[in-house]
């Protein structure tokens, strides 16, 4: 009798089936104890920018994660365009009155990218002037938006995030939603040129609707030294309750990288090239914003 041929029943899953279960409560508490011990004795690493990966992984990202998964139901596209282990400059549109879009992109790149990339944000000096906010921003990996810091991070192979619209973008009225503002002075392009790292255009849809800004109390803003003071349908009408963001549906898309290495570092001194590249990045983001808006069926859907 010829030997029976073995026909594999499940050819495409070799690893045994194991249901993914959340870690047991006692493991979680033990992990928490270990974390507490590290924090009490200071035995963790921080870098020269003030980035504290231990705190980011165990406190800051877990706080942001429910917003990312449940509240905004963020969907990401084009993560394959983000390199796994080399430096790149992610350039995104800015909106939403408070920089929640920067935080959600940080979670997206850490949780959804296969290499769990750290997103090193570049923030305005105002951020670092505000007590607590500034310190926390640094601990999450942010640093001041200046060419020196951007170039240092890019040279070290970090994934750097920049919002060239700045306050013009984040503090724009609701009627101007999804219209890109002026892109600064192109400082981000010269940083990418000087370090030869690619620029990854990133479009974020959904952040515009979290705090629809229908007015700007300029006098109050001047009083507090802020660039704008938002008036939304719920803020300051409902007080602290008005700070709860509206649960809009978010889409984040990373576009194809724009190569800069071929121009050489000297190209950063050519203003015409810098302007052209800035425009190219801006148009790519604007275009992909329109595409994402078509894809999204409804604002809160």
């Amino acid at each position: 009798m010829p030997e029976a041929r073995v026909i594999p029943l499940r050819p495409d899953d070799d690893e045994p089936f194991a249901p993914v279960s959340p870690p047991a409560w006692d493991d979680q508490v033990a992990g928490g104890l270990e974390f507490l011990q590290r924090r009490l004795t200071g035995e963790y690493e921080t870098d020269e920018f003030g980035f504290d990966p231990d705190l980011a992984d165990h406190v800051l990202l877990p706080i942001l994660r429910p917003f990312f998964q449940k509240w905004f139901r963020v969907e990401t596209f084009g993560l394959e365009n983000v390199p796994a282990d080399s430096g790149a400059l992610v350039v995104a549109n800015h909106s939403g009155t408070l920089p929640i879009d920067a935080l959600m992109t940080t979670v997206a790149l850490h949780d959804e990218h296969p290499a769990a990339r750290r997103f090193r944000l570049l923030g305005a000096d105002l951020v670092f002037d505000i007590p607590l906010v500034g310190a926390m921003a640094r601990k999450l990996g942010a640093t001041l938006a200046c060419n020196e810091d951007a170039e240092r991070l890019l040279t070290e192979g970090e994934l750097v995030g920049v919002f060239p619209e700045g306050f013009k973008g984040i503090g724009k009225p609701f009627r101007d939603r999804y219209t890109l503002q002026r892109f600064g002075r192109g400082g981000f392009v010269s940083a990418a040129l000087r370090t030869g790292k690619p620029i990854i255009p990133c479009a974020i849809v959904g952040a515009e609707e979290i705090y629809p800004m229908i007015g700007n109390a300029k006098t109050v803003a001047r009083l507090f030294g802020l660039p704008y003071f938002p008036i939304t349908p719920t803020f300051p009408l409902l007080g602290p309750l008005g700070l709860v963001p509206l649960p809009s549906k978010w889409l984040i898309a990373f576009g194809e990288p724009i190569e800069t290495a071929s121009y050489g570092p000297a190209a950063a001194e050519d203003p015409m090239l810098v302007f052209n590249l800035t425009d190219q990045v801006r148009e790519t983001i604007q275009h992909s914003l329109y595409q994402l808006l078509l894809r999204r069926t409804s604002v809160f859907g």
Binding site: R10, G42, Y44, T46, G50, D129, V133, A135, R138, L144
Partner: protein, 368 residues
């Protein structure tokens, strides 16, 4: 070519005395002259060896006579006071720092024998503000020029030294911008600050701190005196710590206070001569400062033996912790072993009550 006659100012302090002792131990150097306004302590005097001590005020033209008479060829200027407490108030401190430097430079300019001038400066010249880049290189300037205290003095002093270098192009000038010193023996602003059991800090701020071990500071000063480096160089250990982290590693208790309250604590402690909380020092404690040390390692040719972390650990040997890390470890260890026992019991009970479900059966083949 090693120097023949070295003049060191500020020799009665720990670092100045240690440098003079180090130079005196080098047989290639003919004479070492130490200058200070106060005589060194007996212990320091023993260490100084064959160093000749001249009690002179560098604010006094007498210093010119000393330089000319001994035909000094290398001057190491370290007599820069960082705290008003040490020099009897802010006005004498500024006079000693700025006028003293001017007098010393005037004397050096007149002396044809001087070939080399080493300035012990500080990275405080970069200021400290929220607009700072994270890491300063030597070519960068302060975003917000310091307007008072030690930092302002240091900016002024560097300015005078630069104009001296312009007027005497034959003199090699080395400007060493040190980060904060730390170590078991040195007495610096930060060591006094971190020695307090309760360390008041500014609420909502956390400075990035870069440290330099006293042994490395001494080695860099010796190398700058006997070597040929000319120019400005940042001197600091590798790596950084956050201020809160450093306080925790030393087992101190951090007391974050709102900035206005911290100001009054500062005035109070200054009055009693404890720790200097000058406005300029407070800005540093808010934002911190990190310098790039690539030039130190490549052009100057010295790599600090201690990283920031190692320097702090070496300092920690000399201060008894308030919160002992061993206690923390035994408490958390005890809690976690208790937890394991509770967890084991709970899972045993769970197994008894609810047997594990059988593994799932065969699933449909996808492309059947």
């Amino acid at each position: 070519m090693p120097p023949a006659v070295v003049l060191v100012t500020g020799v009665s302090r720990w670092l100045g005395g240690a440098l003079a002792a180090e130079l005196a131990a080098d047989p290639a150097i003919e004479r070492v002259i130490g200058v200070d306004t106060v005589p060194p302590s007996p212990a320091m005097l023993r260490r100084l060896g064959r160093t000749e001590f001249v009690r002179a005020d560098i604010r006094n033209p007498l210093i010119g006579k000393v330089i000319a008479a001994a035909s000094v060829d290398t001057v190491v200027h370290m007599n820069i006071s960082s705290t008003p407490a040490g020099s009897g108030g802010r006005v004498p401190m500024k006079e000693l720092n700025v006028i003293g430097t001017m007098q010393l430079l005037a004397a050096c300019q007149r002396a044809p024998s001087v070939r080399r001038f080493v300035l012990k400066s500080t990275s405080a010249v970069y200021g400290a503000s929220s607009r700072d880049p994270a890491v300063f290189t030597e070519s960068m300037q302060a975003r917000q020029v310091p307007w008072g205290g030690f930092a302002k003095d240091s900016v002024d002093i560097e300015g005078y030294v630069r104009s001296f270098a312009r007027r005497r192009p034959d003199v090699d000038v080395a400007v060493l911008r040190f980060t904060n010193f730390i170590g078991p023996r040195i007495d610096s602003l930060l060591t006094g600050f971190l020695r307090m059991p309760l360390v008041p800090t500014a609420l909502g701020y956390d400075a990035r701190v870069q440290l330099l071990h006293e042994d490395d500071a001494l080695a860099v000063l010796t190398r700058a005196t006997t070597g040929s480096f000319a120019g400005t160089v940042n001197v600091g250990g590798e790596g950084t710590l956050l201020l809160s982290q450093a306080i925790r590693r030393l087992g101190r208790v951090e007391v974050p206070l709102p900035t206005p309250a911290l100001g009054s604590v500062g005035r109070l402690s200054r009055r009693f001569g404890f720790v200097d909380y000058s406005p300029e020092q407070m800005r540093f404690l808010n934002f911190g400062r990190v310098v790039d040390t690539a030039r130190l390692r490549t052009r100057f040719g010295y790599t600090p033996r201690y990283t920031t972390e190692a320097a702090l650990a070496d300092y920690a040997r000399t201060v008894a912790p308030v919160i002992d890390p061993l206690t923390v470890r035994s408490v958390t260890g005890g809690l976690s072993s208790l937890l394991t026992r509770v967890g084991d019991t709970a899972s045993a009970v769970e197994r008894r009550l609810r047997p594990t479900p059988p593994p799932p059966g065969l699933r449909a083949v996808r492309d059947a």
